[in-house]
């Protein structure tokens, strides 16, 4: 037997962002599987190529953009062979051959050779002073030229060309941009936005010659000028070719791997040789090649999964968005915006304000967006684009952005670029813009999750997520790695909420360990995010069968009270429909006095809250409340909370129906049910809506002829009026629809996803179809809810106050008198 397991050898050709990102992801998943050797022809560690433009513009230094220093390779036992080029792959002997002739064996090979700038085959292209724009070496040469020379010509009016031109201009050169077409950045912009961009760049001093074809580069010992197709000439001491990039796949092709416009890879990032993987700009996947960072990161993750022999992830291609990294110019573009017969456009143009927005729709979905001047909603449109959301219900207001749809923040500023460093972005954790920017730059953060972990911004309520993404985009210059379309349930797994729910049903999984085993959880017992989610999913899927796991519940649901900042608890007894009696009030008053409860407060949901109860007093407090006929108000639950009502036809001169009675009926039927997130109801007796039913999860507005049922409202992090679901004539029907709706949400919602978010994701029409139109389905949903209620409607307070459930929870294990 061997003393030491001989590890497999992984050789990585290419020390750029894609290759190293893959290695990083691999180390996370399987740290000890491989001996890793990385070849990089540049004499540096891995740096952030997308930030070369700010380096050129003098806004950042080379050190600022280093991602992995040489130490990192050492710390992770990776052999970095910088400045060494691989010349050949010998697929028969499983070896790579270096320039110096050394043969290095591999078990698996990862090609991440990136791309090269396209150098136009013009006469004079070899002259000194003619360069591409691709790496630190190019940037160094441009900076050097800017100190020695005056006139620069940049060939190419795309993203890269404009960023190069901007940088050279900032370095004091006279810059002319030559572009073949009459629209700048024609791959990302339409003619109008291209024109706006040109205008503002001209105002900064950039000169354009377009449309124009370059015919020759002039000069003898060094470039002196450029000649165009129309015979005109321009003087130039520096010519930057930035007409595009070409995947660098020579090495792969020489080795006989199948290549078209790049190295052709499968959805598992494998080339036609199963031992050889490829990621990044050198690959062609489903006929697409990519030159942006976000797709590389997606690919890296999938590739790492397979290298780690986890073997389930697939790469399905990426939708990309672009932002120009020219300080002070706001420009955002995503998706497909070429006009077409089956596409519709929504355009907003305000020339004086310099604002232009164009949203392209196809089949009720956003397929493209071009924003100029006001790009705050870019990530929001992009999210809907990637998710394929049906946007027909918000079409008329779509172009005005998230804030105008009631999907924005309750308050606060919305333009990140204009914010000062002191502006608070995350209100929950008190994180200001400057702190986020500093963390992103100092700690080399790329993703929203990174920022959350390091700064806490957007990690609590999440309402500032859009702003934080903006700060990321703003700081990284746009092409940051957006959250993946299908979010994993948490960091313990790559599976999504939907996957987990589906597999629980299909595989008949009935315990948390069974789910974790079957779905190959990455952690031993999960974490505080996934355990409560799994507990809920199992509970909702197997009513009566699944045994609730108390240790997987958040403390509030474990002790049936709400933890407060000082470790005491608050207690809210149920008051059906918000109606109480003198004897209940007397009992509450007695309890408050008997246990010295410091604060008694009326809640927003028409209940009374007793705050500051010591944990060990909870069972006794409940016993007294139980004796007066009161049960838990579930004010702590991801479940049915309160039904808020107005007095309705019983007292009110405007009341049309018995809203109080209906509210009580709903609450009595639905209490005790667990749901993905909290559910609050409201019932108003007339359209004056005193119970504020139209900002609840479910709201009923009584009218003379019946009951209007609304749902998916919110009045917390977000303010959102409800959607109208349907109108019914009787109380019974009203109850049936609301219960069926809640059951559908229980079966499909993601844990912690409020009803309005679920509705946004699934679509109002889909829900209406299954709850309102399909009556058989409605009745089936209702029956499933009713069935699960027989196991749910036990007062958790009574169980603990008088039946000894969880007795240990409320008493100390020991009391020590220490000397």
């Amino acid at each position: 037997m061997l003393d030491k397991v001989i590890k497999q050898k992984l050789v990585v050709i290419g020390n750029g962002m894609a290759g190293i990102r893959t290695v990083e992801a691999l180390l996370e998943r399987a740290p000890d599987l491989y001996d890793i050797t990385v070849f990089g022809s540049e004499p540096y560690g891995n740096y952030n190529r997308i930030l070369l433009s700010p380096v050129l513009a003098g806004e950042k230094t080379v050190d600022d953009i280093m991602l992995n220093t040489v130490d990192w390779y050492e710390d992770n036992n990776i052999t970095l062979r910088k400045g060494e080029t691989v010349n050949m792959i010998d697929r028969r002997t499983f070896e790579v051959v270096t320039e110096a002739g050394e043969r290095v064996p591999y078990d698996r090979l990862l090609i991440a050779t990136g791309s090269n700038p396209i150098m136009l085959p013009l006469p004079g292209k070899e002259l000194p002073g003619v360069i591409g724009f691709r790496d630190i070496y190019d940037v160094d040469r441009m900076i050097k030229a800017s100190t020695d020379y005056r006139n620069a010509v940049v060939i190419g009016g795309g993203l890269l060309g404009l960023e190069a031109a901007n940088g050279l201009m900032k370095r004091g050169m006279n810059v002319t941009v030559v572009h073949l077409l009459d629209t700048l950045m024609e791959r990302q912009l339409d003619p109008v936005a291209g024109g706006l961009l040109r205008k503002s760049l001209e105002e900064r001093g950039m000169v354009f010659k377009m449309p124009a074809q370059t015919q020759a580069i002039l000069g003898e010992d060094r470039v002196t000028g450029v000649r165009f197709g129309d015979g005109t000439e321009l003087p130039a001491d520096l010519v930057v070719m930035a007409v595009g990039i070409r995947p660098n796949f020579e090495l792969a092709k020489k080795a006989g791997l199948y290549c078209e416009r790049g190295i052709v890879v499968s959805d598992t990032m494998q080339t036609y040789d199963g031992r050889i993987y490829a990621v990044g700009e050198c690959v062609q996947h489903r006929r697409q090649t990519y030159g942006l960072v976000a797709p590389l990161f997606d690919q890296a993750k999938v590739c790492a999964n397979h290298l780690a022999m986890k073997g389930f992830a697939t790469y399905d291609g990426s939708v990309t968005s672009t932002k120009l990294k020219v300080t002070g110019i706001d420009l955002f573009s995503a998706g497909d915006f070429a006009p077409g017969p089956d596409k519709e456009e929504i355009v907003l143009q305000d020339a004086n304000r310099g604002v232009y927005k164009r949203i392209i729709l196809k089949d009720k979905k956003i397929v493209g967006a071009v924003l100029y001047g006001d790009t705050i909603d870019g990530p929001w449109y992009f999210q809907h684009l990637r998710d394929g959301t049906d946007v027909s219900h918000m079409r008329e207001r779509l172009v005005f952005g998230a804030a105008n749809l009631g999907d924005g923040r309750v308050s606060g500023q919305n333009s990140v670029a204009a914010m000062s460093d002191e502006t608070e972005i995350c209100g929950c954790n008190g994180v200001c813009k400057g702190a986020i920017v500093k963390a992103i730059s100092d700690k080399k953060l790329f993703t929203l999750d990174d920022v959350r972990a390091h700064t806490k911004a957007s990690s609590s309520c999440g309402s500032c997520t859009g702003l934080v993404e903006q700060v990321l985009a703003f700081t990284l210059g746009g092409d940051y790695s957006a959250a993946p379309k299908v979010k994993p349930l948490c960091k313990c797994t790559d599976h999504s909420h939907d996957d987990v729910r589906r597999v629980i049903v299909e595989q008949q999984l009935k315990t948390i360990p069974a789910v974790m085993r079957f779905m190959e959880w990455k952690t031993l017992n999960g974490c505080h995010s996934c355990r409560p989610a799994l507990n809920y999913y199992l509970l909702a899927t197997w009513p009566g069968e699944y045994r609730d796991d108390q240790q997987s519940r958040f403390i509030n649901e474990r002790v049936h009270a709400n933890i407060q900042k000082d470790g005491t608890y608050s207690v809210v007894p149920r008051m059906w429909g918000g109606v109480t009696t003198p004897s209940e009030l007397r009992a509450i008053a007695d309890v408050a006095e008997k246990f010295n409860i410091p604060t008694v407060k009326v809640t927003g949901g028409q209940r009374i809250d007793l705050l500051g109860v010591k944990k060990e007093d909870l069972p006794a407090v409940w016993a007294d409340l139980n004796d007066a006929g009161m049960v838990s108000g579930h004010a702590y639950a991801k479940g049915l909370r309160t039904v808020k009502t107005c007095v309705g036809s019983e007292w009110c001169r405007f009341g049309t129906q018995d809203s109080t009675g209906l509210g009580v009926k709903l609450e009595k039927f639905m209490w005790g049910s667990w749901t993905p997130a909290k559910v609050k109801l409201g019932v108003s007796g007339c359209p004056r809506n005193c119970a504020e039913a139209t900002c609840k999860d479910v709201g009923v507005v009584c009218v003379d002829s019946g009951y209007e049922i609304h749902f998916a409202g919110a009045a917390g992090l977000h303010i959102k009026g409800t959607e109208f679901l349907t109108k019914v004539e009787t109380e019974d029907e009203c109850l049936e629809v609301i219960v069926a709706l809640t059951q559908l949400y229980r079966e499909e919602g993601w844990y912690l996803e409020r009803m309005y978010k679920w509705c946004d994701r699934v679509g109002l029409e889909q829900i209406r179809k299954r709850v309102v139109d399909d009556i058989a389905n409605r009745k089936a949903l209702f029956a499933r809810f009713a069935y699960s209620q027989q196991f749910a409607q036990t007062d958790p307070w009574a169980e603990r106050a008088s039946r000894g459930v969880d007795r240990n929870e409320f008493a100390p294990l020991a009391e020590l008198e220490l000397a």
Binding site: F554, I555, I563, D566, N808, L813
Partner: protein, 109 residues
């Protein structure tokens, strides 16, 4: 010299759960992992003093119920990138009985 005090039966602490031991210097949270190891920490999160005994236990870590700081049970250290440390106390299990050695200075501070 370590002075061990018997504090109760292992069975009285739920797996992946915690119980509190009262001391004049403040509460100590005693945790039990899935594999029946025990750990003892001051029942105060280094972040804002949250009662760690009320948190969700996963592997050898606990998440504070107030703001989701994750603390290593063995060292009391907050998991990076969070920073902070909670005092630990030696704890052991022998024949189903849990023993604790209170590090007084730590508990009082």
């Amino acid at each position: 010299m370590t002075q061990w005090i018997e504090i109760g039966a292992l069975a009285d602490i739920p797996r992946l759960g915690s119980r509190v031991v009262r001391t004049p210097g403040g509460n100590i949270a005693v945790f039990r992992t899935e594999s029946d190891e025990v750990f003892a920490l001051d029942d105060r999160c280094p972040h804002k003093g949250g009662p760690l005994s009320q948190g969700i236990v996963h592997n050898k870590r606990v998440t504070c119920p107030l703001h989701n700081f994750v603390i290593e049970l063995a060292s009391g250290q907050a998991v990076a990138p969070d920073e902070g440390c909670t005092h630990t106390h030696p704890a052991k299990v022998e024949n189903g009985i849990v023993w604790l050695s209170v590090r007084q200075a730590a508990a009082v501070s």
